[in-house]
């Protein structure tokens, strides 16, 4: 029997007494590769932040691996921020960004130990960015930037990997590469939870989807969940679903005569 890695029990979250979602119960099984989709302002980023522990619920309980949030081991949850929120002018190299993943350890000295450098080199090798370790983070391609932050998240061998909009701000090829890489990581046993605006990327790549708008509208495999009814309830507008040579395609439905 698969046990849930993430459990939200009757959780209510809001900012300054303005509720974003209330009485939300949701569980995501260990080993799942799930994407949260929903319109802007639906609360999907707040849901992600609740799972990450950066937003505290007014009520309810959040459990990661059966333990209350905050009692998990350091590095158990890996996080990749939205690339658009990164300060690209900050003076750090790719190696220094990856090293930050190890700052949860107790080492006080500013410079990395030999073991830390070895771990950085190893994860960079695995993700195919070992040639750009000494480069400034601004001076590498979008795909390499995404991999650098993935390496930071993965260096502590997390059970859960959380990504905020990993498909935004990158070209289609990079998007495909990133999702393919996430598939590989998921096959290695890492549970993955991400948010995205790209319904077609979700339909093509993700095995599990959660339609969210101030609550869970529906969840399951994209083929079952991406119906015009569910999408209409999620987005509040008409969306058309096509099957093109076995691929699910979602588009805005045109209205009028």
């Amino acid at each position: 029997m698969v046990t849930p890695l993430i459990e939200l029990r009757d959780v209510s979250v809001g900012y300054r007494h303005r509720p974003v979602f209330t009485h939300l119960s949701l569980s995501i099984d260990e080993g799942r590769f799930a994407g949260i989709v929903g319109p802007t302002g639906s609360g999907k980023t707040t849901l992600l932040n609740t799972v990450l522990g950066t937003v505290r619920p007014h009520a309810g309980e959040v459990l990661i691996g059966g333990r209350p949030l905050g009692r998990s081991r350091p590095g158990e949850v890996g996080y990749v921020p939205q690339l658009e929120t990164v300060d690209w002018s900050f003076p750090v190299t790719v190696e220094q960004v990856i090293l930050m993943g190890l700052y949860v350890n107790r080492r006080r000295l500013p410079w990395p130990s030999r073991e830390e450098r070895r771990r950085v080199a190893q994860i960079a090798e695995e993700l195919g960015i070992s040639t750009c370790l000494s480069h400034h983070i601004r001076n590498i391609s979008g795909g390499q930037q995404q991999r650098a932050f993935l390496a930071r998240a993965l260096i502590n061998h997390p059970r859960l990997l959380v990504l905020d909009e990993p498909t935004s701000g990158v070209d289609i090829k990079t998007q495909h590469d990133v999702l393919h890489l996430l598939h590989q990581l998921n096959r290695q046993g890492i549970t993955i939870l991400l948010t995205t605006h790209d319904l077609n990327a979700v339909a093509a790549h993700l095995p599990w989807v959660i339609c969210f708008n101030q609550g869970v509208i529906a969840e399951g495999p994209p083929r079952e969940v991406f119906t015009p009814e569910v999408l209409s309830r999620t987005y509040g507008g008409e969306l058309a679903v096509f099957d093109h040579q076995g691929h699910l395609l979602i588009a805005h439905a045109t209205t009028g005569s």
Binding site: G75, D87, P91, V92, M100, R108, P110
Partner: protein, 327 residues
């Protein structure tokens, strides 16, 4: 000639001032890196004004001048952080509201009482030549606290300065770290207040760090350059102020502005001299455009095929393809 150059060193007040300028310059240079990179350049300006208000308040309440300034500056830093935390009120607005209000309180108290034995002019404009041995010990203590704190918390400070939200997810205690930094910043401002003056502290904090940023793309190098530059500017500015017979704080800041300008011109000239154009690769992407090779634009010359032109790739093809623009 040599006698004229060495003349100021004969005076104890000048030697004390020199030590103070050296330590305050290094202290502000070190802390300024975090302030500049956090995009909170105005915090120094604001907190120094809050500290001034706190000093006047403390004096009025018969509390120690420095103690009042430290407490009020620290509380102001926390208030600014709390107000701007959720992003609704931006940090620059929070700094403006909190610190100007406290400064105004100080000014109101001065104008109401009008009979202060303590001179607040030194705090406002700096009086580096009135530095006592006690002042030197206070500055040395603050510099030591800041340097040791930086050494011990270098890693979490770097992470939370780069990306506070991600640092919190990774288990860095960002709130406590912010409080600790605010306290050290408040102490640094109080230690610097009588040296460079409330009106000049912001520049002492920002200029060395901004100059270092122009010269380096590495955080640790920026930290070292900014600290050394701050110390150098403090000493050279003070020395020049003696010969120019000008206000020491203002001269130090003017030297800083000149150093920033020189660094800016240097980086622009370097860019122009090293700027060139040829075919190069970023992974699978091949293109040609003006760029430099100083780490600002990493690329390879020995890339994959360039099917657009039917070339075979590699360095031989690159030699032929020089100055050729690809779509």
């Amino acid at each position: 000639m040599l006698d004229t150059l060495l003349e100021p060193f004969a005076f104890e007040f000048f030697r004390n001032g020199l030590w103070a300028a050296l330590m305050v310059g290094a202290l502000c240079g070190m802390i300024g890196v975090f302030i500049v990179l956090r995009g909170m350049s105005y915090i120094g300006h604001g907190l120094s004004h809050a500290a001034f208000g706190g000093a006047v308040l403390g004096y009025t309440l018969n509390v120690n001048f420095y103690l009042g300034a430290v407490i009020v500056a620290f509380v102001a830093a926390l208030l600014i952080h709390q107000l701007s935390k959720d992003g609704k009120i931006k940090s620059d607005a929070a700094i403006g509201i909190v610190t100007t209000a406290i400064f105004a309180l100080g000014v109101a108290l001065i104008s109401r009482v009008r009979q202060f034995t303590q001179s607040f002019e030194a705090a406002l404009f700096g009086n580096i030549l009135g530095v006592t041995t006690t002042d030197l010990w206070v500055i040395a203590a603050v510099l030591t606290v800041a340097a040791v704190g930086l050494l011990l918390f270098y890693r979490p400070l770097l992470f939370s300065t780069f990306d506070r939200d991600a640092a919190a997810v990774f288990g860095i205690p960002t709130e406590r770290l912010q409080m600790g930094f605010s306290l050290v910043l408040a102490l640094a401002i109080i230690a610097s207040m009588n040296i460079v003056g409330v009106t000049m502290i912001a520049a002492a904090l920002i200029i060395p760090a901004s100059t270092a940023r122009l010269l380096s793309d590495s955080f640790s190098a920026m930290l070292i350059i900014s600290t050394l530059l701050g110390a150098l500017l403090g000493v050279s500015g003070l020395y020049a102020s003696y010969h120019f017979d000008a206000a020491s704080g203002a001269t130090i800041v003017l030297f800083g502005a000149a150093a920033f300008l020189v660094a800016l011109i240097y980086t622009r000239i370097r860019e122009r001299l090293t700027m060139h154009e040829h075919l190069h690769y970023h992974g699978d992407v091949a293109h040609a455009h003006p760029h430099t090779h100083d780490g600002e634009h990493a690329h390879t010359h020995d890339g994959p095929l360039t099917p657009a032109k039917g070339r075979t790739g590699g360095t031989t093809a690159l030699a032929d393809a020089k100055y050729e623009k690809l779509p």
